[in-house]
């Protein structure tokens, strides 16, 4: 530190003296104003135009609402529909709309608006990112102004969940075309302004049906990408909360500060060492088993500063259908080596690990490379930009290994898909999954889901590492924040200052 010229110090001190009272607290003092920090910046603000999770984290429930709602526990409760009925064959869903709902621009909600909004999800020329979730819908019918009937082509036990997602937000035909820049919804907060690269400001919506229950007047979502900058922003008082704090290594620093509560909850993100099952030598079960034995989850979680829950299959531990399969292929380097030799690779082989630009993948990447090295697999790491990862790894399936978190709930269905990037093709799993989707009895569905977990754990399709933790940091006086993250959302309708 001696290399700093004295002059620089004096100069900076002088500059500081000119602004003696630069007050960090100035931003977030009022008790009806909240500054929410976000790690990623949303591109547009319309979930029907872009798949980014950050869009949902800002708009879900705050700006946009769906017919049903996913609450803080992950349960599906009434949303813009007060109630619904499902026909015994599971094909017809009838929604009764809540009365008195208005959009921020004063337009009223009725069945025709709902029909418009749902129809565009699965229309032939639709460009909605989540279109595939809604292609089971045959038709949407406005029975009367307060009743909507959705008819399916085949029963889908996940339909209600899909309808509750932010992707199925009810948008008005008048405002839908401009919702990317100026989102207009039915939620408790309305869009005020956006500064690209910096912040998005919402204010309480006077049109909201239950405005009295909303305590916050102004909500500012502020984008702070860098982890250490997030800490600085919190410490300086520029930001009141990071609901999804992305830097586990910095949590200790925040815990030292009595002003903040650090709340560790669950997410739907399974971090996996995704493996190209269609490519030699990974198409050999023994090789994948050898890799599974080489994985030391404790060390990986240590690299996450202890945050994360070990998983042995592609399923969230907090889900009631979860079954603990972490013991299927326990950490055992000798066994891993032996299996590799049995598979015909006594001296190991070389493999590439293509990492997406996300913190957990960067952290886990070097650790996994070292772990696989111990059974003789020489791993070369390549960092990809997100667009490259999407094209090269995910779409073209041109990869050996990658690390990624699958953050959608119930995403074990990916193992039943043809041409998914893992190149896993198991008639057994596909048959099981068809049973899951068709199941109308939820207890039976849970049992079937357990079987699904066992099949992919046994086949060691991917390396199952750990479930991402949701690290929420907020001022201790702030109440009502979600501890868990059942869906990408920062639902502020129940949040207030003490």
């Amino acid at each position: 530190m001696q290399s700093i010229p004295r002059r620089t110090f004096i100069g900076a001190a002088a500059a500081f003296a000119v602004f003696p009272a630069f007050g960090p607290e100035a931003w977030a003092q009022a008790k009806n104003r909240l500054v929410v920090g976000m790690s990623l910046e949303p591109p547009v603000l319309d979930p029907n135009k872009n798949a980014a999770a950050a869009i949902r984290e800002i708009t879900y429930q705050n700006i946009f609402e769906s017919l049903a709602r996913i609450d803080r526990t992950g349960a599906i409760v009434s949303g813009l529909a007060e109630s619904w009925t499902i026909s015994p064959d599971g094909l017809v869903y009838t929604f009764k709309l809540r009365p008195g709902v208005k959009f921020h621009d004063g337009e009223a909600l009725d069945a025709s608006v709902v029909k418009f909004a749902i129809d565009r999800l699965f229309a032939a020329d639709s460009t909605v990112p989540a279109k595939s979730l809604y292609t089971d819908i045959a038709s949407v019918e406005a029975v009367d102004p307060a009743t909507v009937k959705i008819t399916l082509k085949t029963p889908n036990s996940y339909l209600l969940y899909n309808i509750a997602l932010c992707d199925a937000a009810i948008q008005h035909p008048k405002s839908a075309p401009t919702n990317d820049k100026h989102p207009v919804g039915t939620g408790a907060f309305q869009f005020k302004e956006r500064k690209e690269g910096d912040s998005i400001t919402l204010v309480k919506a006077p049109t909201f049906r239950d405005a009295g229950s909303i305590k916050l007047e102004t909500v500012i979502f502020k984008v702070v990408k860098d982890p250490s900058a997030q800490v600085s922003a919190l410490l300086a008082g520029d930001v009141d909360t990071f609901p999804g704090f992305q830097a586990p290594e910095l949590v200790e620093r925040l815990k030292k500060d009595a002003r903040f509560a650090v709340v560790v909850g669950t997410t739907e993100g399974e971090v996996i060492l995704a493996t190209n099952n269609g490519k030699k030598p990974f198409n050999d079960l023994k090789v994948r088993q050898a890799m599974a034995h080489a994985i030391n989850r404790a060390e990986l979680i240590d690299a996450e500063s202890g945050f994360g829950t070990p998983i042995g299959s592609h399923f969230a531990p907090h889900n009631k259908a979860y079954v603990d399969l972490t013991g299927t292929y326990p950490f055992d380097v000798a066994k891993g080596k032996a299996l590799l030799a049995e598979a015909g690779y006594p001296n190991g082989f070389e493999a590439s690990l293509k990492l997406p630009p996300v913190g957990y993948a960067q952290r886990a990447g070097e650790v996994l490379a070292s772990q696989l090295g111990k059974i003789g697999i020489k791993v070369a790491i390549t960092q990809l930009q997100w667009p490259q990862w999407l094209s090269e790894v995910f779409k073209e399936r041109n990869y050996d290994l990658t690390i990624v978190a699958h953050t959608e709930a119930n995403d074990i269905d990916r193992y039943a898909r043809d041409g998914y990037y893992w190149n896993y093709d198991s008639p057994e799993f596909k048959a099981k999954w068809r049973e899951v989707v068709a199941a109308t009895d939820f207890a039976k569905r849970d049992e079937l889901l357990k079987d699904c977990q066992r099949i992919i754990a046994r086949d060691a399709v991917n390396g199952y590492l750990y479930q991402l933790a949701k690290i929420g940091v907020w001022k201790k006086e702030l109440v009502g924040m979600w501890e868990n993250s059942p869906t990408p959302a920062t639902d502020l309708t129940g949040v207030s200052w003490k």
Partner: protein
């Protein structure tokens, strides 16, 4: 003279035209599909195709190039794919951070470098001169982004008198915004201080050897008058030229410093746009920077011609 300038101008235009082709080509071969970035992992082939058609990604390259150039010529930069907002607005917002940052760094550089250079020249060959020259060696050798990190360590982490990064915004907190630019400007100016100091020193040494300076000294003019009225005034010509050249590079070179201090400047805009494959933004910002560099070079040429009346041959 006019003939020389018009030739330089024509050459700059040709360079610019070539530059647009190069930029367009580079942006086109960026791996990754912008439509896939927008629609994410659950995108279906039919939605991807529909989106590509909507944005015109499916049109032939020459058509897209001409479309872009047509827009540039009519000052219409188009809309960002990621944000949906006009590119011109995006760039304008970011310039509100980058320009003040560059201006602060440049004025800081001039304020420090000119006195240092004068001092070194005046005390030519003494320990003071050696000290200044040693400092300039360090100044051009230390990576400015690391200097920025060290500043953060000292002023933000250890003494906590400056924010470690981020930018509150001119409207929300004008004072905080100025404060937020202090450390980045310091970091950015380090190598510029070193370069300007050297230029000032050698220009001063040259002018101090000139006859009129010697005459002034011989006539018994006070040293202060000799240094500042006679020598410095003439030495300022090359100093101004170099300062101008630096200004152009300061703005473009701020990318890494903006990244260290998380400033939402133009450099970060390009960096983010590359990561989002927001092709419209990348193309336009890089071309704008190119225009800036060419304009600065041209201005330097003009300055030379105006300040130096001797006839010139082509550069």
């Amino acid at each position: 003279m006019l003939d020389f300038l018009s030739r330089r101008f024509a050459a700059a235009l040709v360079t610019l035209a070539l530059a647009t082709v190069v930029v367009f080509a580079v942006v086109e071969v960026l791996p990754g599909d912008p439509a896939l970035v927008m629609l994410g992992t659950e995108a279906r082939p039919d939605t991807l195709a529909a989106l590509r058609a909507q944005y015109g990604f499916d049109q032939p390259l020459p058509v897209r190039y001409l479309h872009w150039i047509g827009g540039l010529l009519s000052f219409d930069l188009g809309n960002s794919h990621a944000y949906g907002t006009p590119v011109a607005k995006l760039i304008g917002d970011r310039l509100a951070v980058t320009l003040p940052l560059g201006a602060l760094a440049l004025s800081w550089a001039v304020l420090v470098a000119v006195p240092l250079g004068v001092l070194a020249a005046w005390k030519h060959g003494t320990a003071g001169d050696w000290g200044v020259m040693g400092f300039t060696q360090i100044g051009i050798s230390v990576p400015n982004f690391w200097f920025g990190i060290v500043l953060v360590l000292l002023f933000a982490v250890t003494w906590q008198v400056f924010p470690s990064g981020g930018f509150p915004g001119w409207r929300q907190d004008p004072r905080g915004s100025v404060v937020a630019l202090v450390l980045p400007a310091l970091a950015l100016s380090l190598s510029e201080i070193a370069i300007l100091t050297r230029v000032t020193r050698s220009a001063m040494l040259d002018t101090l050897r000139e006859d009129y300076v010697r005459t002034a000294r011989a006539k018994g003019a006070p040293e202060r008058v000799v240094l500042f009225r006679h020598a410095l005034r003439n030495a300022l010509i090359p100093v101004t030229t170099v300062a101008g050249l630096i200004a152009g590079f300061l703005i473009a070179g701020a990318v890494i410093i903006e990244s260290v201090f998380r400033l939402p400047g133009v450099g970060q805009l390009v960096y983010d746009s590359i990561n989002n494959r927001d092709l419209v933004v990348i193309k336009n910002v890089v071309v704008l920077f190119t225009i800036l560099v060419l304009a600065v070079n041209l201005l330097v040429d003009v300055a030379y011609v105006l300040l130096d009346p001797r006839p010139r041959v082509a550069a």
